[in-house]
Amino acid sequence: MKILVCISHVPDTTSKINFINGDSEFDTNGVQYVINPNDEFGLTRAIWFQEQQGATVTVVNVGGPDTEPTLRKALAIGANEAIRINANPTDGFFVAKQLAEVIKNGGYDIVIAGKESLDYNGGMVPGMIAGILGYNFLNSCTNITVEGTNVTAVREIDGGKETVSTTLPVIIGGQKGIVEEKDLRIPNMRGIMTARTKALTILEPVDASVNTKAVKFEKPAPKSAVKLVSADNLDELINLLHNEAKVI
């Protein structure tokens, strides 16, 4: 079984979000980058498949050379090999098109991406890959098992969950639950050493139309200070929620 895990390289959750060049670009100054949390859950699930069912795990990222430490971290966690597609990830479709090409040429059975990334929160890439390749697609996946070519999975739905069945090859939009946070792997010394010897292949991008572009960023307007209400005056809170905020 061949598994491809799509890794998005995103600012750490506590990063300060600022913009430069007339608010047209994200300011990377002092920002720590990490594996996108939803992808990290997927990577750990892939490593389980590797350990329990003998799968090979490849990780892939569309990005410049600065994303290689993130791919090396994924190798240190246990992926067998890594691919970097040497391009700036301009929009969801562009990224999906690059990944679809890798998937087609590599004959992967399972492709795990995060259901969304923490930077642009687009939630577009896994569905777009599935759309381009015509593969079966499971979004918001919280559990997956594979027997032969049969796939059983659990998905989150509004107000509950559902169990679905499908067949390989399949594209997954994964999230927490596919493994739990306590099961995430931290690279150990041996992993870090062996990661250095694992293959990191660099591919040049294929042509893809750029359908959308980010032209400008804005920060939310500064908030006015909290109105404190005394704990002995709950009627005042009800009054404010009813007459001022008009939410009850």
């Binding site: 959750t13 979000i17 939803n38 969801g92 479709f93 999906a96 923490l118 642009y120 929160n121 687009g122 939630g123 577009m124 896994p126 569905g127 777009m128 599935a130 759309g131 015509g134 079966n136 697609f137 499971l138 979004n139 918001s140 989150e156 739905i157 509004d158 107000g159 509950g160 969950k161 559902e162 169990t163 679905v164 069945s165 499908t166 927490k176 639950g177 139309s209 359908n211 959308t212 572009k213 032209v215 400008k216 960023f217 804005e218 920060k219 939310p220 909290v226 404190l228 209400v229 005394s230 704990a231 709950l234 009627d235 809170l237 009800i238 929620l241 009813h242 905020a245 939410v247 009850i248």
Partner: protein, 322 residues
Amino acid sequence: MSILIYAESAEGKFKKVALELASYAKKVAESLGTTVTAVTVNAGDVSELSKYGVDKVLKVANDKLAGFTAKAYADVIKQAAQKEGAKVVLLSSTTDSIYLSSLVAVALEAGFASNVVGLPVSTSPFQVKRNAFSNKAFNITEINTDVKVLALAKNSYGIFENASTLTEEDFNPTIGDADFGVKVVSVEKGSGKVSIADADIVVSAGRGLKGPENWGMVEELASVLGAATACSKPVSDLGWRPHGEHVGQTGKPVATNLYIAIGISGAIQHIAGINSSKVKVVINSDPEAPFFKVADYGIVGDAFEIIPQLTAKLKAFKEQQS
């Protein structure tokens, strides 16, 4: 050319997000000088859509589509868009619609913007404002393709009445076996209470509540307000509450009208999930809790004393209102 919306329904009733989407679509249609067509799947009576500005409904009635299947539904929307020559296709941000929308975008070779939070900033070039960086910023995105797909973030526009004369038309798109590669085996819905996805008000509690045995008072407060309950991550990690209730960056985002946070410190990862809620009330015993910095209203005090009193007072207030 028209604008096409996918109006989601459940058990024959339109979801609130569908009415918000219709309201939004009407406004976009006015600025583009066109009309709004909605496509519905097994929705039954569709007349309600005329209140919110929809001019025409393409009604799909098909037993094969009784359960939600992303690929088949995407195929329906694609064919409806092509039939109408729609240049703008609008979806909402329910879990189902998010699942669908990128498939629809690829099928229509359309540029796609998700998490859209308001009317287009400009229609030529076509630019929309979206949430980015876990709601810590906005991004203005320009779409350059002929056909554009947008997914509207929940509660970002509102529901506005705008009466129209509605034409209804039966629509029979072609759906083949290839659309059913994913089969639903079973569905488990939470018990009859309000789900976070549908709620206008969410009452959320954190580790400050000390243990699962104390959630009774949270549920009571929620029930008086017709609200859904939610929690912080440690609470679900500890198994006090189900995972589906965990709100935040790694949990669910909530964009409600009112978010009440009880005994939650307000860590940045939690705030990331609630930033787009309109009004935030914080109840915390620690006046230094970071949550007060993002709250609209706050009470410094002990939840165990405040919540039962607040519930009783709200109950009286509601009775007086009705």
